[in-house]
Symmetry: C2
Subunit: 462 residues, 2 copies
């Protein structure tokens, strides 16, 4: 694989242009207005796998969007790598904060990406990172140096909680049989310090609705005399944290894994500048659970955030109204040993108990997933570490991410194999935000590093 | 004026149709998309006053929407009644809760309006009630029994806080000179028990904006580590009331007029069924300031309500985002002796003080007005009471309303005359709500009663 750098160098313009074409399709899975675009993206991914050298590629029907499956089996006696990724993207809202349209990709330089970055929804999460694997396969098939078998499973519902994936995995255990699962849907510390994500948080996502009077009321005639659903919702949300920013749901922390002082000290060694963090976000201080550091708060501790809130008059000008209903979308990030279904139930019970007389409360669970921790002494982790070291000339650091890929825990349960998370994005790439981007350096470096993982994994598996 | 009932009976279909035409124009002053419609409504009101017999009618330019002025001066030595009303309407949102389109008026019967009611935005507030005065004038000019002088001042910005009206009144004191101001923009207890509004609450309306990080963030990567503007806004709103639902703004109650036990006992005599109130709103309990009754809470006590809230992802499905900004529209209803400008300042100072480090807060005052109480021993009140008694065969009850007509205090200050509020709507007419309506009985009864006010006021003024 000595020629990987020269192959990437020779084809990089085409690699970038192919990704740009994929990013032009607005595959927003959360919004049914885009359903045809989501399906079109699946077709485009299928074609790209065929061109990259897969022997068998198919669009697998599910109760939701299709899953793209592809494989190249060179020898049943060799190990098999299963690549997972997703071709759907987050909604682009708020669109007016994008400096260029979310589905018209452009390359611009940034402070952290002096070689340029592709700006588009899905550039990093996850079209760009998924497509690195397609191009890595192309390199290995074109150069006849694919050292093992490979399977691809690329889904279109990750951003809405992968509702069809468990259905598919449960029904296709033989087809999906593998020795390691490889995912690029996380980040790394910096372009000079790679890292491997060894932990993911779980997730419970709910929507709440508070109903007061049966119709919107004039706030002069009824104000102060009936429960105002917006005021009540605000009060209920406020009660979900105490003065130390602990979550107040009874039982919420019962199963939370408490890390030892030693483990926390080890974590604290990862390079991190609080001043740079605050400056990048333009905030005068961080905010979170007492007695934990910023990096602990967003990785080893569970959290609760309101992701959206709405009710009453939100248009131009003024309307003196008491709304009949107020709504919020609330998500909790969970840590190992917290069960997302149990937490969803605890939340529901607690939230309902906070409602005063005069309002009705409805909690609708949306989706969720378990947290995951991968061991660093596995062959998969060791192979990934060797690949990064060979590619970057520096040893990667194992880190716990605050994000969630709920299906990782499912894979371990159903497919009995470990997942290795080789992410090449940066936290500053604005995934889920306006102006999402993915560094050209990162994209090409990913394509270079992935074949090295195949090589080391195959050798270490002997 | 013995023929008033027969005149109304003879012309009622035309009266209803003329009002329906006026209601078809969507004069939403809060939304600039309707600005041409607002101006068209002013033109239509001008024409209607000309046809009703005014000698001089003009559209008076202001910094905002025009004010329609009309007059009929029969003898400078006779008293002058100044009629105030407004031709603009509240936004119709949420439009999907209307059972018929808000600007396609239809007549339907209801439990409280067995003779039918006109359903349309503005039917009661205030096009319908304002137009009663136009038709009352028509009756008096057609029958040559107008007993005094009359002036009309109909504005188009009441629903956005009348920003141009004070400008106009200050510049036209001579033109607007009068002996009493007459307004129909309030309600009455029921169709068998008329009432006269003797008090209005003041208003302070503000918009607040809470900014956290400088862009929307992924809630997995940043959740729990930075202040979430929606959670913070909820917490700040929750802190605006204490456990007894008193407002916590320091100094807020300092100037609040405390009514004596006797006055409160007198108020409690007005017919009111708490059970019927709860049933009509489909709530299992009322909610408000401790130690006050429902009718006290919505009339003699100041209140604070959130009228709208928004932030983060509010579309279909789920988005795991921490919003950069969250917003709310908040209004306070004020009682006599609370100064709205002072209260707006107290609110701003207090709200800013509630913000933790990690967020920035901006409070934008929207508009406001002073509370007002009218004495019941004035000639104006006595004339109104006599008119209602003659028309309904039952003595009207003086009541304090929870609503606000901020310009009433301004009139007293600038024009030195008392305002009499002869309202003919019902609280259940859903003003500011979907399915606003105005009873045909109430509309016609208003047209019958108003000329009797002119008669009694002129006689009592001799």
């Amino acid at each position: 694989m000595d020629n990987i750098k020269s192959y990437v160098g020779q084809h990089k313009d085409r690699f970038i242009n192919e990704l740009i074409e994929l990013l032009k399709i607005p595959s927003v899975s959360a919004d049914s207005a885009y359903s045809q675009d989501v399906v079109n993206t699946a077709e485009a991914v299928k074609e790209s796998l065929e061109k990259a050298g897969c022997d068998k590629v198919e669009l697998c029907e599910t109760p939701g969007y299709p899953i793209v499956y592809g494989e190249k089996i060179i020898d049943p006696n060799l190990p098999t790598v299963l690549v997972y990724g997703h071709y759907d993207v987050q909604p682009p809202d708020p669109v007016d904060l994008w400096t260029s349209p979310p589905f018209e990709p452009v390359v611009k330089t940034t402070e952290l990406h002096p070689e340029g970055a592709i700006f588009a929804r899905g550039a990093c999460d996850d079209k760009g990172q998924m497509y690195m694997h397609v191009k890595a396969l192309e390199y290995m098939t074109q150069n006849n140096n694919l050292p093992c078998n490979v399977k691809f499973m690329i889904e279109g519902e990750e951003e809405v909680g992968s509702p069809s994936l468990s259905w598919f995995v449960e029904r296709n255990q033989e087809k999906l049989k593998n020795d390691v699962i490889l995912i690029s849907d996380t980040g790394m510390i910096s372009n000079t310090q790679p890292s491997i994500t060894t932990g993911l948080r779980g997730l419970s996502y709910v929507e709440v609705e508070v109903t007061g009077p049966n119709r919107d009321l004039h706030s002069g005639l009824y104000g102060g005399a009936v429960a105002n659903p917006i005021n009540i919702l605000a009060k209920m949300i406020a009660q979900l944290h105490d003065e130390n920013n602990h979550i107040t749901i009874p039982g919420f922390y019962d199963k939370v894994e408490e890390l030892s002082r030693e483990e926390r000290d080890e974590m604290a060694k990862a390079p991190f500048s609080l001043e740079a963090y605050k400056r990048a976000l333009d905030i005068d201080d961080v905010y979170g659970e007492a007695t934990y550091t910023t990096n602990e708060r967003n990785s080893i501790r569970p959290t609760l955030d309101v992701n959206g809130i709405w009710g009453g008059y939100t248009g131009e000008g003024a309307k003196t109204v008491i709304a009949s209903k107020a709504y919020a979308k609330i998500s909790m990030r969970l840590v190992p040993d917290q069960d997302w279904k149990e937490i969803t139930e605890l939340f529901t019970k607690h939230f309902e108990s906070l409602a005063p007389k005069g309002v009705k409360v409805k909690v609708t669970p949306h989706h969720g997933g378990q947290a995951y921790v991968t061991p660093i002494d596995s062959i998969g982790y060791q192979a990934a570490a060797a690949a990064y070291e060979e590619s970057f000339n520096v040893k990667p650091i194992p880190v716990r991410s605050g994000g969630s890929i709920p299906i990782v825990a499912l894979f371990e349960k159903e497919l009995k194999s470990k997942t290795i998370m080789m992410g090449f994005g940066l936290d500053s790439d604005a995934i889920h935000s306006p102006n999402e981007h993915f560094g050209i350096f990162n994209y090409l470096k990913g394509i270079e590093t992935i074949p090295l993982f195949y090589k080391h994994f195959t050798e270490m598996s002997k």
